[in-house]
Structures are given as C-alpha cells and as structure tokens.
Symmetry: C2
Subunit: 238 residues, 2 copies
C-alpha cells in the first residue's frame, strides 16, 4: 500500500499531522508493506523568494489577525506539537517561500532520502533558531544531514528549474484530487484524509484502505497472454 502526503514545510499542521500519522503507522500490522511518499504543496506560492517575515507579522498582515490572536494561535499549535513529542518555537519563527525546499525534496526522493530530509526541514523550521529561509547553505547543511551530497544539493538549489516541474506536477495533482489545504493524505489513490486528524483516524484509514482494496480490473485483448510463469513461458504459435 502507498500513502502519499501532500504538505508544506511552512505548515504547522503538516508537522503535527505527520507525527500523528506515524504513530498510527507504527502500530499498523502491515506497516512494512506501506510506502510513504511526500508530495509538494505550497501554502504561499506567490511570495517572492527573498520576502521573509516573522510568522506573527505574516499572520497579522496576510490574515488580518490581531497580534494577540496570532500569538495565541502559535501558543496553541505549540501545545498540540508538544502533545506529539515535537519541539515548537512559538516565538520568532520566520515565514517565507518554500519552493526551493520542495525542489530539494524531489531531488532527495530520487536519492531515497526524502523522508529523512522532510523530517529535518520540519524540525529546522519549527524547532530551531536559525531560519530555513535565510540562505541556501542552511538547506545544504540539512541535505547533508539527510545523507545527500553537498555539491549535488547546491547544484539543485542554484538552478531554479531543477525539479520545478515535479513540484508543479504534485500541486496539480493535489488540485485534481480535491485537496485545498494540507496536510492531505491519500491511501492507494482510494481514500483521503484531510488535516492533522487524530492518530485513531489514520489507524482507521490504514485499516480500511488495506482491507477494502477491491480486486484489480483486468484489461487485456482476446489473444493468449504472452507471459512467463512457474510452468514456463507461453510460446507464440506461428
């Protein structure tokens, strides 16, 4: 079974939701047969790369919250994160464009290091003092910690076209699947879970998606199957 998770590094509920999902996955009897793939979704795609703001400033300016409301929201998110065992800085975090991080995550996927990198990016953004938005070298450090080659990561970051199509394709698919927010979990392209639901909901979704898998619809022509099996290969006549 495959679980695809659409998310953004700048999305606090994605950080929390990932931990809740993983709790459910850990307890799922068929966990070794579950493959997890991370997909790109930008919450703020139109923000320029250099346009970095404190989260509180962004919340008050973009969503018209009062500073007290915005801070209360952050405090509350911090408490929800803590309940999942996650560190969360409720003060002085930055907000910015995440496109380069998504491009880097696609490179990491190709190298089998996507899960490592996304975990480090979340932690860096939500729990560590140094901003992930300040310069590429911060992202290179995280890439190296995830097992990627520094020079290769630098090359990806330096070329705005590298893996850009892959990010856009993920975002197009999210829209096609009806996801308007993140995190958005898709199980075998049959079941969807929207938001950082409790671990019990993910457990139920895993169970249902695993148990309810319908038999495949076979598509074939009328001829003999040209295949090999335990009894040998079909030999074409004529």
């Amino acid at each position: 079974m495959r679980v695809e998770i659409w998310s953004d590094i700048a999305c606090p509920w994605c950080y929390v939701g990932k931990a809740r999902f993983e709790k459910a996955l850990e307890a799922f009897p068929h966990r070794d047969d579950v493959e997890v793939v991370h997909r790109s979704f930008e919450l703020d795609p139109n923000r320029a790369k250099g346009d970095i703001q404190p989260v509180l400033t962004m919340l008050t300016k973009k969503y018209g919250m009062s500073e007290a409301q915005a801070q209360a929201g952050e405090d509350n998110l911090g408490a929800q994160a803590a309940a999942e065992g996650l560190d969360y800085r409720t003060r002085d975090r930055d907000h910015g464009n995440t496109f380069d991080m998504h491009r880097l995550l696609h490179f990491a996927k190709e190298q089998g290091r996507q899960d490592e990198l996304i975990g480090l990016l979340y932690r860096a953004n939500f729990a560590e003092e140094r901003s992930v938005f300040d310069d590429d070298e911060r992202l290179v450090e995280l890439a190296v910690a995830a097992g990627l080659d520094a020079e290769a990561a630098r090359t990806v970051l330096a070329d705005p076209a590298a893996y850009a199509d892959e990010v856009r394709a993920d975002e197009r698919e999210a829209a096609e699947l009806g996801a308007s927010g993140v995190p958005f979990f898709v199980l075998d392209r049959a079941y969807g879970v929207s938001g950082a639901q409790p671990a019990e909901v993910f457990a139920q979704a895993l169970k249902q998606a695993w148990g309810d898998r319908p038999p495949l619809t076979l598509i074939q022509d009328s001829g003999d199957a040209q295949a090999c099996g335990p009894d040998g290969c079909a030999v074409p006549q004529g």
Copy 2:
C-alpha cells in the same frame, strides 16, 4: 498515476512487454504524470545461486520440451523482440537465479536508478554474450553503468540479507494481487494488465485508469479539520 510492473530479468516476455508498454506510455498525453515502479518476481526462486544452465538445457529439463521445441520457442521470442526493436540472442543464453539482481534493483530504486538498471540488466541478459549469472562483478559493472556507486553495489551483492525483505514483500504483493505470471502491470492499484500485451492494450489501460479514477473516499472524524490552506491555518480553540 503510478504503474507498477512485476517482472523477472530471466523472463523474455517481461523484456518484450516493457518495450510495448513504453511505446504506449510514450504516446500517452499524461505521460509526465505517470510514475513507473519495477517490482520483483522470480520465475525460478528455488534454483540455487550457483546453478547456471544454458536456457535450452533448462527448457528441456524443467519443462520437458524437446530441444527443437525449445529452440523454436527461442527463435520465436527473438522475432517478437526484434519487432520491438530489441536485440535477442536466440542461442547460448544462460539461465539462473535472479534474486541478487532483484536485491540490486531495490538498492537502485532507493537511489533513483531503478529504471536505468533494469534496462541494462535486460539487455545484458537477453542481448549480450557475457552471462549475467557468472559473477557479481558483471552486475557491479551494470550498476555503475546505471549510475550507481561500485563499492555500494558490491556491498549490497555481498550481503544476501540486503534488500531481501523488499524482494519478498514484492513477491507477496504479487500473489495478493493475483499475479501468477509476469510481466504483470498494475495501474494505480485499480487496473491490471497481465502479460506482454500489444501496445494498444497498454494504451487503453492507461487511458481507462486515467479517466476512470474514482473520487477519493474521505475518512475523518467529526471534529474540525486541523489543516492549513490559502486562508491560513485552522486555529484550535481552547
């Protein structure tokens, strides 16, 4: 959309079927949104690693064919391969255990080089004089040609447990999906195509799987979705 292809390097119809599928994929308008994953299936899992035989000897001993029948089958497969533009040695090929190649393909998958490696393995087995069954260094050469690190490939090959679970998991899934022979193509876990069908059948399967994708069934609890979207993140109350 994701297409999973169960196959074995020792399976001539897998070699031919891959080319037919790729012809259909090349002409498919949404080809850039199709991800192809190769899955393991051993036609001859009980053959000992060192038990290497000429294909003709294997066909006569294992399936009780006459030598003339076996050779006619190979000639016919060679003609089918040629029709897809593939080289095929109809004389003096070897047959053996493919478990190590499947382990190496899983390593290559982790490194984003699976498609490159499986293409080279097929070509080496079906079209080149040197046997792929003779020694690990042959496989290391092919791994390097696929873009993998020689030392890392050598380490994988030297450890019989490396990626063995992944191979077994693929084979278990094939059985669960009802595949008794290969190649076996699965589109988004909804449609199956068994055997090296004509390219037109693959084209139809791609079209049908793409167009018929049912909407996701959403699973969630009764509470508010804790998610972030274009209008900000839901803020927990209380």
